[in-house]
């Protein structure tokens, strides 16, 4: 990964303009003590971090130049109490007014905890009506509020309001040691616990100029692909279930459960939580782990192709997924959307390949893309990625190096900064870590891929019928906790 650190007003504006012109894409934007920071991805894949000093509590808005930065910027302003000059949307994002204070990471100010009003964007026209949904939803899902404006059956405008699961992770990180930081990072979005743990560990290792032993990299790779498998199986089943095709959910549910059981046997935890740590892995692969994972791969290879044929041959199911929830390629590209959402709309991006980190730097695999950008395309990208992950797992098991799985990191090895971009099942997870002189965490910023995908769901649903929202939403499968932090 090539990376540069720039700072100053000229670089800040230049970054905003180049992102707006499509010459670079936004990776993340966050606050830190006395400054705002942004990370962008150059056309050649290199990352650059740009700093902007906050002057008298204010900084020039990036969202004013490049809309995809808006929610990240609003979140940073809530947490630090900064003012984004010229921002197109001044509403608070994470702060609903319910906390006993304002600006938890900046100059704290007491607050009475009375909820702030929130003005939703309007849509007017004959027969246009509002449908408020959430934060408590009808299924077993995370909380968030969706405000629909509908004309008859069709969605005229959807506006999301998130932040309900805000746990204050950034503040809990401050002053924590790396072990505690890893525990928190693994709980930002539980379905991506491995991806977050790897991103955090890699950022910590980069900050300390250390590296994990080779075997640990390969174990991390195996865990990351198992996490991808478990989530893709679950999502493929759940999307089809939202199109009232429950059989697929039943079968995919079996594959998902088998994946979690293999993970439990191999690594001691069904979701593989707390297994990846800075310096390597907390445990080695259990003696019967290899057999368990091989059995899983064999079962998936025999069962999954039949499910794919079933999906492909069921016209009533395709009728619901083809042409539904279309995300235009130019919009996906403008937002720099990664993961399944980006790749199903023609974006050829994958951090495993583009920022080749071990073990992927020693592996070859395809990055499937689709052009249609509809629910069907997002299902197909998942289907094809399952095949790649099965191949990768087999290869990694066959080539797994011997040796230790963990290297002790020098305590108090700060100060330093490190960052990492890691491909989770949902897309690229970005971790940026700043360590204090005593080696504790001064600032840890974790950016879920959903930040750049949620706003696109608002666009993809437009013109679809309200009843297709669950189907579209599930095909995006954004993380609520991941963006609420």
């Amino acid at each position: 990964m090539t990376s540069r650190l720039l700072s100053g007003e000229a670089d800040w504006f230049d970054a905003g303009r180049r992102m707006a012109a499509g010459e670079a894409s936004l990776v993340s934007l966050w606050g830190d003590e006395g400054r705002m920071r942004l990370c962008l991805r150059e056309a050649d894949g290199g990352l650059a971090v740009v700093d902007m000093a906050v002057d008298r509590g204010a900084f020039p808005s990036i969202a004013a130049l490049h809309a995809p930065a808006s929610r990240l910027e609003r979140a940073a302003c809530d947490l630090y109490g900064f003012l984004a000059l010229g921002a197109p949307d001044g509403r608070r994002w994470l702060d609903h007014g319910r906390w006993p204070l304002r600006h938890p990471l900046g100059r704290r100010a007491p607050h009475d905890g009375a909820a702030d009003p929130y003005a939703f964007l309007e849509a007017r026209g004959p027969g246009v009506h509002q449908i408020p949904v959430g934060p408590v939803h009808a299924g077993i899902i995370e909380p968030g509020h969706f405000r629909f404006h509908a004309g008859g059956e069709a969605v005229v405008r959807l506006e999301e309001r998130l932040g309900y699961t805000h746990k204050g992770i950034d503040a809990l990180m401050r002053g924590a040691n790396l072990a505690r930081g890893a525990e928190l990072a693994g709980r930002v979005s539980g379905d991506s616990t491995v991806a977050y743990a790897v991103a955090f560990a890699r950022a910590a290792e980069a900050a300390l100029g250390a590296d994990a032993p080779p075997r640990a990299h390969w174990l991390r790779g195996i865990m990351a692909e198992m996490e991808r498998l478990a989530n893709h199986f679950g999502d493929i089943g759940a999307i089809c279930n939202d199109a009232a095709f429950a059989l697929m959910l039943a079968h995919c549910g079996i594959l998902r459960e088998r994946t979690l059981r293999a993970a439990k046997t191999a690594f001691g935890h069904r979701l593989m939580m707390d297994v990846v740590v800075p310096g390597g892995a907390a445990v080695d692969l259990a003696p019967d782990g290899i057999a368990a994972i091989r059995a899983l791969v064999a079962e998936a290879r025999s069962t999954f192709p039949k499910l794919v044929r079933l999906y492909d041959n069921t016209a009533s199911l395709q009728e619901r997924t083809v042409g539904t929830g279309v995300l235009a390629a130019d919009l996906a590209s403008r937002f720099g959307a990664g993961g399944v959402v980006g790749r199903a709309s023609a974006r050829d991006v994958d951090a495993r390949r583009d920022h080749a980190y071990p073990p992927y730097d020693a592996l070859t695999f395809a990055v499937p893309t689709r052009k249609a950008g509809d629910v069907d395309a997002r299902i197909w990208v998942r289907i094809l990625e399952v095949g790649e992950s099965l191949d990768l797992i087999e290869t990694m098991l066959a080539r797994l190096p011997d040796g230790p799985v963990r290297r002790a990191l020098a305590p108090g090895g700060g100060p330093g900064e490190g960052w990492a971009l890691v491909e989770g099942f949902r897309g690229d997870v970005f971790a940026h870590l700043r360590l204090a002189a005593d080696g504790t965490i001064a600032r840890c910023h974790l950016r879920d891929p959903s930040w750049l995908q949620w706003p696109l769901l608002e666009a993809a649903i437009e013109g679809n019928i309200v009843a297709d929202f669950p189907l579209c939403n599930k095909s995006f499968n954004g993380s609520y906790s991941g963006v609420d932090l």
Partner: protein
């Protein structure tokens, strides 16, 4: 091919019902068990509320519906509205941004009702205890009848807890 696929579900994968073998869980459950059995018979409608979880807990609650655990065979049903629910299954540390929604969901649930706090976060805030943004567990907001420990509780642990609750 449809037949093959349908048959694929037939050799039963279903796990035997787990015993309520955790003494602490059994003790907690004993307090509510008689009332649950008397009032509800062997059927329990569950409304899940995510009060700020990391979504790990939800994944395992979902797994209760798969062919291995098939929780409906015990009379448990997940319902879409609190108005249809006997039990609120609450996950997460109860973020302050969700506290009112959780309370309102509780108020909308008709009595008799039980509250199950599921997972380390729901128990006492878990990894997020002490944050400015969380109430620090379900008991800080609602009367809790049963705590199911775990991060996240496995489907087997969830089943043990719910079975114990039913008596």
């Amino acid at each position: 091919m449809r037949d093959t696929l349908l048959q694929g579900l037939l050799p039963p994968l279903t796990e035997a019902a787990p015993a309520a073998d955790d003494p602490e869980l059994a003790a907690l459950a004993a307090a509510v068990k008689d009332a649950a059995a008397r009032t509800l018979g062997r059927s329990l409608a569950i409304r899940h509320v995510d009060a700020g979880s990391c979504n790990g807990c939800e994944l395992e609650i979902h797994a209760l519906g798969n062919a291995f655990y098939d929780i409906e065979r015990f009379g448990f049903r997940f319902v879409a509205s609190p108005r249809h629910a006997d039990v609120l299954l609450v996950t997460g540390p109860v973020t302050l941004n969700m506290r009112e929604a959780l309370r309102r969901t509780f108020d909308a649930t008709p009595a008799p009702k039980w509250v199950v706090a599921s997972g380390a976060c729901a128990a006492d805030g878990g990894a997020f205890a002490g944050s400015y943004a969380v109430a620090g567990g379900v008991a800080a907001v609602l009367p809790v009848d049963l705590v199911i420990p775990g991060c996240p509780p496995s489907p087997a642990a969830l089943m043990r807890g719910l079975l114990a609750l039913m008596g």
